[in-house]
């Protein structure tokens, strides 16, 4: 009997005891994941008194669920209190995800199909010129002047000195460079971006956030899509070329339709990142362009955390993303995988 419990006839099906242990462990982790979310949902329908009197677990048994917190946030606080950040989040999230997707798809296709040999000397020269611009702007020269001067110096030197060196980089170097931007901590770049946007009058606009997020999440898109495009057989394109299609038509009519699952996955992942982003929004937005993470964070008020309100906001914020994730779980998993397994 014990023997039968410990071994199983099918080698790929674990023995009953192992199965029981596995279910206990899996159930435990499912509890760890779901319980905080359950608590969130429960707290959203509590009165302050229900929270302050100690934990109440089950609605209708331990306490009477009410909509007071929802009413307070959505009606009493003025209709723009939640609606505006919510619309901002949706708009900025979708716009920047589309931006990353378009730029990322174009760059990934280029990296998958063309050979680039950028000269090292020219790149070094470029960095030197940018440094020079920054330096002389720092010394008090108007920035327009220093940019023009730097471009002139670059053009001159590139024509003369730059041609003498032949060391060059390849496609994988470019891809690595693009992807490595993910390593930058936002604080390392956000202060100059803040100043830059201030100069251009972009601070506290939606465009600022969209641009910043597009740039920040572009590496993810390149990372996921490059391998995806490389997996598409080249013969398909060649036959289209023979039929007289040009490069853009091939990309638009053949490559993109073929990689729809990859595009969906990338879009979703980038959307999730933009949706949840906090640090850059903190620097770049004001009252008008505030996004949901900021609104949620702002509830850490002086009167102590208003848990019922926070729960409502967090619940509102995560619901669309969680629903999307559950529906499109396969795509998301695959999108992450393509990048990670080969990257």
């Amino acid at each position: 009997m014990i023997r039968r419990l410990l071994t199983s006839s099918n080698p790929f099906r674990p023995s009953p005891i192992w199965m029981a242990i596995s279910y206990v462990l899996l159930g435990f982790w499912a509890f760890v994941v779901l319980f905080p979310l359950y608590w969130l949902a429960v707290t959203a329908f509590k009165l302050p008194a229900d929270v302050n009197d100690g934990p109440a677990y089950i609605p209708f048994v331990d306490y009477q669920p009410v909509m007071d917190a929802w009413n307070y946030l959505l009606v009493e606080s003025g209709e723009n209190f939640v609606r505006r950040p919510y619309i901002n989040t949706i708009g900025v999230g979708i716009a920047s995800a589309l931006g990353s997707l378009v730029l990322g798809a174009a760059a990934s296709y280029a990296l998958a199909r063309f050979d680039y040999r950028p000269k090292l000397a020219l790149i070094g020269l470029f960095i030197v010129c940018v440094l020079l611009t920054v330096l002389i702007t720092g010394l008090g020269v108007p920035w327009q002047l220093s940019v023009v001067a730097a471009i002139a110096v670059y053009a001159l030197l590139a024509q003369s000195v730059g041609r003498r060196f032949s060391a060059a980089l390849g496609n994988s170097d470019i891809a690595f460079w693009l992807i490595s931007q993910r390593m930058l901590p936002p604080v390392a770049v956000i202060i100059p971006i803040y100043i830059m946007f201030q100069q251009f009058g972009l601070l506290n606009t939606h465009a600022a956030l969209v641009i910043a997020y597009t740039a920040a999440h572009l590496p993810l898109a390149v990372w996921f899509l490059r391998d995806y495009f490389q997996g598409i057989p080249i013969e398909l394109e060649e036959s289209a070329f023979i039929d007289g299609a040009n490069r853009y038509q091939v990309l638009w009519r053949i490559i993109l339709p073929l990689s729809t699952p990859g595009l969906i996955a990338t879009f979703l992942i980038v959307l999730v990142f933009a949706w949840n982003e906090y640090t850059m929004a903190l620097f770049l937005t004001g009252a008008e362009t505030q996004t949901m993470p900021l609104l949620v964070a702002a509830q850490n008020a002086t009167r102590g955390p208003q848990w019922w309100n926070i729960s409502v906001l967090v619940l509102m914020m995560i619901t669309p993303i969680v629903v999307l994730a559950v529906i499109l779980e396969r795509y998301i998993a695959r999108g992450i995988l393509v990048g990670a397994v080969k990257g």
Partner: protein, 439 residues
Amino acid sequence: MELENQLAIPGQPTKKKRTSGIPTSWLDNSARYVLIAPAVLIVLVMAIFPLLVSLYLSFSRFKFVRGGFEITFIGFANYNKLFFGSEQRHLLGKFAPLTPLDMLVMALAIGGMVYLMYRYVRSDRFRIFGFIMRIVAMIFAGALLLMLLASLTLAGWILWVLCIAILFYALFLYTKTAYYHPLGVIVGAGIIIWLSARLQSVLILPNAIGLPGTLSVTLMFVLGGVALQYFLGLGLGLLLTQNLPGKRFFRVVFLLPMMITPVGIGFLFKMMTDTLKGPFSPVWIAAGLGDFAMLGQGDTARLAVIIGDTWQWTPFVFIILLAALEGVSKETIEAALVDGANRFQMFRYLILPEIIPVSTTVILIRLIESFKLIDMPNILTGGGPGTATETLTLQAYVGWRSGDLGGSAALAYILLIVATFCAIVFVNFIRRRLLDWVK
């Protein structure tokens, strides 16, 4: 193409990649640049240019004046203040005097590094460039270790337990037949001795302990978080590769935390850790800890941050490892089962070598991302109590808020350098070795 390959002269580089180029018109030729230019341009403008400006800012004092701002070049003053001046305690922590055992650990570490260096110099892989880089890495690692030894409180025990776990996991990978390696055992024993001595010294001389600064705290979060996420993700992945009914349900559920905003998770765990109003308060009260605030103590607050981070990012590791595990060929496992291999042997000799490449990639990704942790601790603890849970990113943000843009940029650069160092060391010394071993 076939023909091309046949005609290729041996020794001459052949064109490896097939470029489907039938260059016909200017339109096709333009695609080469038109497609990649926007991406390169936006990265140049939004990442490289700001990075260079940040570098300049970190060497200057930034002041908002009427109608604009004013930047004064002040050399290394910002860095000086962080490493040696008034901000030292904030960044590096309060140093306790080194106990003899600290010195022993330090000596063991230096000895180990010198030994590795000696082996490198004697081997045929020796290059001058590599030698210089290794010297730099040694000095850097030594300085970080010294800082950790002198400033970690007992909270470090979590960290050290994890270190030992990782060490033995690594040894277990490294040794194909024996389960120990002399060097590793010495280091492991050293850490255990140090830990117990530290414990005693804390009990006897409570004033002689240091306080971790933001750099130590960040390293603790990175190491603790990544290690926990990896082991949990691996465990869950292994459980789900069995043919269990309900697999898809668990997969979806396990993926959820990744989709939730870190700000929300900060609040969630603030609720979870509340000992009076939180859902676990009966447990706390039963344990006699009803009036204990988990977020009010440095050690437990750090633990809470690590738990929150682990809760969020285990799914990422899990989903990637699960795919790697499902890629392990079923035939091999069946053959091993027929030969009577047990679970442990199957994991060690069949599954592990297959998932090592993916494991190192996923660890690298998490390593890099963990260094950027800011939103969750900012909400959960606000960096407190004191600066007990303040990460480098958070410190830079606080500096920016108080108008110290130069200091903030200097901190960002320190973070960038430390993160890059850790990533490079991981790639060159650990990842490459593991990949070689798998081959």
